[in-house]
Amino acid sequence: MKLRRDVFQAIADPTRRTIISLVALQALTPTAIAENFDYSRQTISKHIQILTECEILGQEQKGREIYYRLNPNGMKEIADFIEPFRKLWDDRFNKLESVMKNYKSEK
């Protein structure tokens, strides 16, 4: 249950939410992440640290640089992370079903 509370704490902050959506698109260095904000590098580092501690972000060493990305392995509650993906497809398929039921009755 601890992790769950931590995840909520992590996403409660708008800056951290933005960081999550940035690294969801591609792995980024702390510098590249910080470029998206007016805050100091230190402030951004603090947010990255919290997200890493909550196992939302994972680190990846590429040469000299450390890249951050959404953490696929450490996410013990992976179901929580993929539920929005499942929901997206479920909604889409529900729509398909209703469109085709109307189509059938129109004929």
């Binding site: 933005t18 591609q26 929580d80 992370f81 993906f85 497809w89 729509k95 469109v99 085709m100």
Partner: protein, 155 residues
């Protein structure tokens, strides 16, 4: 109760399996994928092109009220077997996401029910995980934007 749409994404694999049972005969399910005006209705995108034949292609687009393109995707259609399967690629334009390969298998369960098994293969495990987590990331941002809107109205 088991969900109608099931997503299976095993760790360290570069594929996703999406399975869905429909209260529709198989020919109607298949039609939903091959007729442009039906695709537009359920996907909510404009269909710019849809050629359902081997070596055909498609392109979908979504614009906001002002005409700005919010989303555009395209792909090549490799195989189309009526009421059986479609094999195609999918790529979101202007995003870092690489192209993905999609296998759509249509199965009749009985005369009124059918099933779609969609297997999506990604360039890498990381690319798969990024795609899997995109709605999560967008979701929390959207929730945040909604909250901002509500707060904005209070002012």
């Amino acid at each position: 109760m088991e969900h109608k749409t099931i997503v299976k994404a095993e760790k360290e694999k570069q594929e996703i399996l999406i399975t869905r049972t429909f209260d529709l005969p198989i020919h109607l399910l298949f039609k939903a994928y091959t007729e442009a005006d039906l695709v537009e209705q359920w996907m909510g995108n404009k269909v710019l092109k849809l050629e359902n034949k081997p070596h055909g292609s498609y392109q979908f687009e979504k614009k906001d009220e002002k005409g700005n393109v919010l989303f555009r995707a395209n792909g090549s259609i490799h195989t189309v077997n009526e009421n059986q399967n479609i094999i195609r690629t999918f790529e979101m334009e202007n995003t870092p996401f690489p192209v993905q390969l999609e296998f759509l298998d249509f199965e009749a369960i009985n005369s009124e029910t059918s099933k779609l098994i969609m297997k999506i293969v990604f360039k890498s495990v990381v690319d798969r995980d990024n795609m899997l987590q995109l709605p999560f990331a967008q979701g929390i941002n959207m929730a945040h934007n909604e909250l901002q809107k509500v707060i904005g109205q209070l002012k």
